[in-house]
Symmetry: D2
Subunit: 279 residues, 4 copies
C-alpha cells in the first residue's frame, strides 16, 4: 500500500552515510520527498530526517538501515504517528486549555492520556473535555513523598512525553531521571535571561523592552535543559509587572504549542544539551 | 588540498537520486556536511544543495554527477565564490549605501562592478568608495533609447546579477529578456499588496498596521517575479505617509541585504515562478 | 470611593481641548494616570483616552466634559467594563475555542452572550462551556432569508459587538447596516493582499514568504473596513497550500485575540475608514 | 512665524498637571498635535512629550511652564533639533558605517562631530565621509591613562551624546561619571542574558533559538544601564558561533539605529534605571 513515512536517524558521521541511507530507500522503491541532514562538526555526529513515499514495510527499512549504518545508529522509521502525552499543571489555564482544545479537535498530533495538577483548580476544564484529571497535592508532605505520589499516578498511564504546562513545582533530579529527554517544560522567560523564580518581576525591574518564553527539555539542571523553541513579544514602560505576566501568557501558549508540534512530528534531535530542529 | 565546496543540483525527480548523488560524493571521499533537498510534488522536480569537505576536483564531481543524474540536470559544483554584480539606482541612497559598505568591508559576498543611475545624485557616494558610476539619464529620450543606453553601459562590464537598488524606472520585457533570472529588485511593499506605484501612499490610505518590503527576481511581468525574501515592520495611526516611507527604507535595506546574502551563497532556486530557498 | 476609570473622547480639534479636559479632571480631583491624544491632521479630528484615578462620579464628569468640548464631541466615561459579544462561526474551531477558553477563565474582557453557526459542528464545544449555541443553516434558502434568520436569532440577545470568528458567509450591506462599527471580522490574509476567497491558495500560488491575518471592522465593502490589527508568520517552499492554512490558523487566533483585547478595553477609535489604536 | 515644536517635561506628579500644561499652550495659541503622558505609579513621577504647532516663542513657553509646574520640573521646549554626537569604535565597521551613511544623507537626526577609535582601522571609512577620526590607542598604557587620553580628545569637541558603536573597551565608573545619561552603548546580546564577554559564544554554547541586541545608556554598572531598545533574530542549529556573530551584526546595526532615532527625537526619558519611550 502506498504511504507516507518518516525516518529519523542519528549516528556517528562518516563519508558515505547519505549514500548508504539513500541506497536503502532506492532499493526498496521508496521516494525521498524531503531530506534534512546535519553534521555537528565539533562532535562528528550525523542527524537526518526523511519524508518518504512508497510501499515498503517500516521494519524492513529499519533493519536494512541498521545494517549499513555505524553501530551506534539510532533509527526510527515511521514512528508512532500519534504520540501520547501526560500533562502536569498547577493553576494557570492557558497552556493546558490550548492543548485540550487542539486535542479535542485532533490537531495536537498527540493523545492526551491524563492531566495531573498539584492544585485541583484545573480539574473542571479537563472534565469538560473528558480527559482524566488527578489532583496530587503537595501541601503538608515532603517533596520526596509528593514526587512519589506523582510518579505512582503517572505510571498508571502509558505516554511518550510529560508536558509541564505551567507546572510550578521544581522537580528533583531523582524524579526527572525517570524520564530522560521525555519531559518538556515551558519557561516564562527568554532563557538564559531570568533563570529561576518570578522572571516577569525580574524583567519588569530590569526595564526590558522584550519578554520571551522558552520551551525546553527538562534535565537535572533547573532551566538548563536543551532549548526547543523561543519567542518574544515587545513590552514598554506602560506595562506593570502584572501586565507582563498577562502578555507573557500569550507567548508561553504559542511557544509551547510550537515546540510540541515540532516534537510530535519527530523534528527534534538532542545532542550535547542542544537541539537540532528540522523545521 | 582539503576544502569546503558547495554543490547545487536541479533535475526531474526519480527514486534513487539522493543515493546517486551521495555515491558520487562517497566515491570521491567527499564528506557531506549539510544537505538540503526538496521535491516539488506538483511538478516532480528535485532540488538539492550540499556543503562538502574533501579534496576532489570540482569538475570531476560535476562530470560524475551529470552521468548519474537525469539528462535535464543542472549541476553546479563550487560555483564562483565571489559573484559579480551591477547595481542600478535612482535617487534613494539607503540600499546602495548598504551594499557599498558591505562591499567595502568584504562582507557582501560579491564584487560590485559598477553602479548606474538614471539620476546623477548617487555618483558622489560611489566615488567615495572607488566604485565606477555611470549616469544614464532618461529625460528627453524614449524608453527604448534609454534602455539601449543602459544596455550598452552594462555590457561593458561582466556580472552575474543586476541589482535594482531602488531603481525607479520600469524595465520593458525587451530589456529584462536579456537577463533571465539575473535581475533582482527590491519592491517597497509586501507583495502582492500594493502592486505598482506609490505603495506607501496606498498603505497609508488603507490604514494598514504593518508595512513590508519584497525582494524578487524581475521578469517581464511587473512586480510578479519569484519572491526571494519578505519582511514587515509595524506602523500605526501616528505614521504619516512620509513616515511610512522612512520606516519602509529600513525594511527595504534589510530585505535586499537578506535576499542578496541568500542568492550569493547559492541558496536560491527558481521553479514555476516561485523560489526554493535553503536558508 | 476611590476607583480607576477610563474616559474616551472624540471631537473636532481646536486649541485648548487638552486644557479643557484636564481642567475638568482637576476640578473633580481626578488624577490622570495615563493620557493618549492624537489629532488627525487632515481632518482636524481630536481623539483621546485617559486612565484616571479618583472618586468623582462618571456622569458628572461626562456632563462637565460635554459642556466644555465642541458640540460634536462623543464622550464616554467609565464605559461598560464588561462588554457583551455575540459570535458567528462556520466550521473552524480555533478562533471560537480561544474565545471560549478566555471567557471561561475571565480573561476575555467580555461576556459571550451566544454563538451562532451556519453549520451545527461547533455546537458541541459551546455546550461544553455552557454557552448558548444556535444553528442557523444557510442551505436551501436565499441569502436574504438566511440573514433574516440570523438577525432574528441575534436580536434575542443584547450585545455590544458581533465577532465573526471564521464565519465563512459574506454578509450583505443590508445586514451589516444594522450594526455599524459593531461587527469585527478576522480575515485570513494580510489585507489588502489576497482580498476575497481562498487567500491561502492565492498566497501559495504567488510563492510569498510571509502569510498574515487581519482583524477589521466589517463595513458594506467586503474586506475593506477599518483595520484593527495585523500580524504575519514566515512560510517557505516546504509549505503546501494546506500547510499554509494550518500555519494561518495560529496567526488568525492570535490576531483576533489581540484585536478583541484592544477593542474591549476602549482603545480603538474609527475615523475615515482607519483606526486610531492607543495600545 | 508658524512652526512645529517639541516640549518634554518631567516632574513630580500631582492632580492638575496636564491642565496646567495645556493651559499654557492654549493661552499662547499653541495647538497640541500629539501628547504622550505617563505617570510612574510607584514613584509618582510625571513624564510628557508634546508636539505643538503655533507661533509662540520657546523661551516664553518654558518660563510659563516652570511657573505652573512643581519646582522639580525639568522642561525643554523645542530642544536642539540637530543633536551632536561623538562616536567611539574599535574594529567592527557595521554600526559606524550605518551612522556615517545616515549622517552623510541627513537622515541621522544628529551631527557627527568626531569618531575616536582605540584601533586605527576605521579611520579610512571616516576619511571617506570627511569626518574627523582620532586614533587613541590603549596598548602599552594603563586604563587610567587611556581614559585620560580619550577624555582629552573628546573634550576638544562639543557634543550631546557619546555613542559606543561597538567600542570594545570597558569604561571605568570614573570615566562614565563625566557624562551621566549621555553615553549610549550597543550590547551584542539580549540583556540581561549573556552579560559580559563573548555573548555570542555563550549563546552558541547554550543552544538558544534567538539572539538579540540591546541599546542602553551606560552607567557605572557594566551592562546594567537603562535599556532603550532591544530586538532579536532567530538562529538555529546550523549557526556556528561565527555565524551568530554575523547574524548579530545585522541586529546590532538595526537596534542602535532605532535607539538613536528615538533618543535624538527627544522620545526617551530615564527614571529609576528604566526608560520611558514615547514611540
Amino acid at each position: 500500500m502506498f504511504m507516507l513515512m518518516v525516518a529519523v536517524i542519528q549516528c556517528t558521521d562518516r563519508v558515505g552515510l547519505v549514500a548508504a541511507i539513500a541506497n536503502v530507500m532506492a532499493i526498496n522503491g521508496m521516494n525521498i520527498l524531503s531530506m534534512r541532514e546535519h553534521v555537528e562538526l565539533g562532535s562528528s555526529m550525523f542527524f537526518s530526517r526523511l519524508e518518504l513515499s512508497g510501499e515498503a514495510a517500516a521494519d524492513i527499512i529499519t533493519t536494512q538501515l541498521q545494517q549499513v549504518l555505524p553501530t551506534d545508529a539510532i533509527v526510527q522509521v515511521n514512528p508512532l504517528p500519534q504520540k501520547r502525552i501526560a500533562v502536569l499543571v498547577t493553576k494557570e489555564y492557558h497552556c493546558l486549555g490550548d492543548i485540550l482544545l487542539r486535542h479535542h479537535f485532533n490537531t495536537l498530533g498527540a493523545s492526551v492520556q491524563c492531566v495531573i495538577g498539584n492544585h485541583a483548580l484545573l480539574g473542571d476544564i479537563c472534565g469538560r473535555f473528558g480527559i482524566p484529571f488527578h489532583h496530587v497535592p503537595h501541601d503538608g508532605i515532603g517533596k520526596e513523598q509528593f514526587e512519589q505520589n506523582l510518579l505512582t499516578t503517572l505510571l498508571a498511564y502509558q505516554f511518550d512525553y510529560i508536558v509541564l504546562a505551567k507546572f510550578m513545582r521544581i522537580l528533583s533530579p531523582a524524579f526527572t531521571a525517570h524520564f530522560p529527554l521525555r519531559i518538556i517544560n515551558i519557561h516564562h522567560s527568554f532563557l538564559p535571561a531570568f533563570i529561576g523564580a518570578s522572571p516577569y518581576k525580574q524583567a519588569f525591574d530590569r526595564g526590558v523592552k522584550l519578554i520571551g518564553a522558552t520551551a525546553h527539555y527538562v534535565t537535572s539542571d533547573l532551566d538548563e535543559g536543551p532549548i526547543i523553541a523561543q519567542q518574544i513579544i515587545p513590552v514598554n514602560h506602560n506595562f506593570t509587572a502584572k501586565d507582563m505576566v498577562h502578555a507573557g501568557r500569550e507567548i508561553e501558549t504559542a511557544v509551547l504549542a510550537r515546540a510540541l508540534s515540532l516534537l510530535l512530528a519527530d523534528r527534534v534531535f538532542v545532542h550535547n544539551n542542544k537541539t537540532i530542529v528540522f523545521e
